[in-house]
């Protein structure tokens, strides 16, 4: 502390406040950039959230390479490699991890180590804070999905959808799934009692969901009771929506009810979006504030 703060203070009432550059939009953009910068510096997040679906897809494709193809249930169309069949599930899992797992653990850490409290003592609006988090999730999830698709197409030789309709389905399921995941992640961040236990609380939830929702195990091969449990949670619907986008139509025969049921996908995700919004509104505090 070598130099003192030497600026002489003009009389306060005559000082003209200089608005922060760019106003609210500038504030949000700076917040997003800040969140992305700090996200990229966290090694465990990069491996277990960002890289995880790509790693899993590579493992699946190599491990099951010898098992040949999954025949098209309509008996006419071409079959799919194991990697191609599981790609949509991995895309859905990536969305869940980027939103729910990443934000729930990240915000729980910020709460327990005093960073949230510190923001609470500044004129930071909770909305700007959330926009920073969600912006970070969108940017990293776009990158993650793009990498996953590039690796699938050029590394593993999986062909991607060729119709505009399929990509439209992909786009809305991706966007709605990610928005829902962000809000559920923020809502879930209230659950861990400390930063140390955050991973231990959140990881089992997302991992179990991935196993029962048809990400790593073919959904129609699961027992009915497990399918029913999975149907309560959003990941099953995200995976189903992604299969509708990526897989040939004949594969809809393997779904519950022998159809893609995209409207049900939309309804289930919107319901969870509202749940996330309401829980966040009710539980989010800068600190565990006492009555």
């Amino acid at each position: 502390m070598t130099a003192a703060l030497t600026t002489a203070a003009p009389v306060r009432s005559t000082r003209r406040p200089t608005p922060s550059p760019g106003g609210v939009v500038g504030r949000c953009l700076r917040q997003i950039r800040f969140e992305i910068t700090t996200y990229a510096r966290s090694m465990d997040t990069l491996v277990f959230t960002f890289g995880f679906p790509i790693i899993m897809l590579a493992i699946f494709t190599s491990a099951f390479a010898s098992q040949g193809t999954i025949p098209n249930p309509d008996g006419v169309g071409a079959g799919l490699s194991v990697g191609a069949y599981y790609l949509p599930g991995m895309v859905a899992a990536g969305i869940l991890l980027s939103g729910v797992q990443n934000l729930a653990i990240d915000i729980a850490h910020e709460k327990s180590d005093g960073r949230l409290k510190r923001w609470g003592g500044t004129p930071m609006s909770p909305l700007v804070y959330f926009i920073g988090k969600i912006g970070q999730v969108i940017v990293t999830a776009v990158t993650q999905t793009a990498l996953l698709l590039i690796v699938a197409r050029f590394g593993l030789g999986i062909s991607l959808p060729s119709t505009a309709e399929a990509w439209r389905t992909f786009a809305w399921v991706w966007l709605l799934g990610l928005t829902t995941s962000c809000l559920l992640g923020i809502a879930l961040s209230a659950l861990p009692r400390s930063g140390r236990t955050a991973s231990a609380v959140v990881l089992p939830i997302t991992l179990v969901l991935q196993f029962i929702s048809g990400v790593y195990l073919q959904f129609n091969g699961l027992p009915t009771w497990m399918q029913n449990i999975a149907s309560v949670f959003p990941l099953k619907w995200m995976a189903q929506g992604m299969r509708a986008a990526f897989l040939p139509d004949g594969f809809s025969q393997l779904e519950v009810g022998q159809a893609w049921h995209l409207s049900q996908v939309g309804v289930a995700l919107v319901v969870w979006l509202v749940v996330g919004l309401v829980v966040t509104r009710l539980t989010f505090r800068w600190i565990r504030r006492d009555a």
Binding site: M1, A3, A4, L5, S20, R27, G121, T122, P123, R289
Partner: protein, 287 residues
């Protein structure tokens, strides 16, 4: 309520079940003043500070901070405060400069980032990630975060914990410059020399109440500040006397001893001595 008060507190209570953490506290802090709140751990200092900062809600009482009830303080109110909390944030992945630049953008009339970095002496660490700084350096980051918004009222809750003596002196210089800038400062500290050095007035809090408040050189009353003369008799016994006329006591002693009395000392009670005497007295009252 006084118009030129930065903080006004009347009959403040904060109860947790049967525990009365704050129990009828009154406090007025004037604009431009540096006020030190002293007291043992568990006396209610931090609870009081956190109520003023808007972090905790009170059980009852009237509180005005910069003319606003902290329970209803919005973002424009927060923009006028600077808060250095007791606990340091340890896990920032951001660099010092990144963190300050982002925070600066939240305030209507902030200080310059480079100016603040140099004021807290972190020029060489400006591009280091905060989680790679030492404890004392991280504390400087906390202080920098507290002053970047050019606050009218600055809360410093045990700001120099973990500082070496030199860093503490440099911090004092920084606080004096803020004071010259017209900033009102509320300080809690366990270092009584720090309070004596910086504060215009101090308040002593025990058992959730303010037991005394006054200028650093007046607190405790005239009785507590009477000089003490200490010496040893020829047998080696320690003797102490409290007197208003230390010079004549010393003269008398040297006449009796026929020379220099052994281990002679004349002590003016420091803030620390007065504080410890008062804390001791109130804890005996309570017992």
């Amino acid at each position: 309520m006084t118009a030129d008060a930065a903080v006004q507190v009347r009959d403040l209570h904060k109860h947790y079940g049967t525990l009365r953490a704050v129990d009828g506290l009154d406090l007025t802090i004037l604009r431009g003043e540096t006020f030190a709140l002293l007291g043992p751990n568990g006396a209610g200092k931090s609870t009081t500070i956190e109520i003023l900062e808007g972090y905790r809600r009170r059980t009852s009482g009237v509180v005005q901070v910069l003319g606003v009830d902290p329970d209803h303080g919005g973002l424009p109110w927060k923009a006028r405060l600077g808060i250095v909390s007791q606990s340091t944030v340890e896990s920032d992945q951001a660099t010092v400069r990144e963190l300050l630049t982002l925070t600066r953008g939240l305030y209507p009339d902030p200080r310059d980032v480079e100016e603040v970095i140099s004021a807290v002496g972190l020029e060489k660490k400006a591009d280091t990630r905060c989680n790679r700084l030492s404890g004392g350096q991280r504390r400087r980051v906390d202080v920098a975060m507290g002053v970047i918004g050019r606050p009218e009222l600055l809360f410093l809750d045990e700001p120099t914990t973990g500082f070496d003596p030199e860093a503490r002196r440099e911090f004092w210089d920084l606080i004096r410059s803020l004071k010259d800038d017209g900033t009102t400062i509320i300080l809690t500290t366990h270092y009584l020399d720090e309070a004596a050095e910086l504060a215009d007035r101090v308040g002593i809090i025990t058992g959730g109440r303010l037991v005394d408040v006054g200028a650093v050189d007046e607190i405790g009353g005239a009785e507590a500040r009477r000089p003490v003369v200490r010496w040893r008799t020829e047998d080696g016994d320690r003797r102490t006397t409290v007197t208003d006329t230390p010079a004549s006591v010393v003269a008398e002693l040297s006449a009796q001893a026929g020379g220099e009395p052994r281990d002679l000392e004349v002590i003016r009670p420091s803030l620390e001595d007065i504080y410890l005497t008062m804390i001791d007295a109130t804890s005996k009252d309570a017992a």
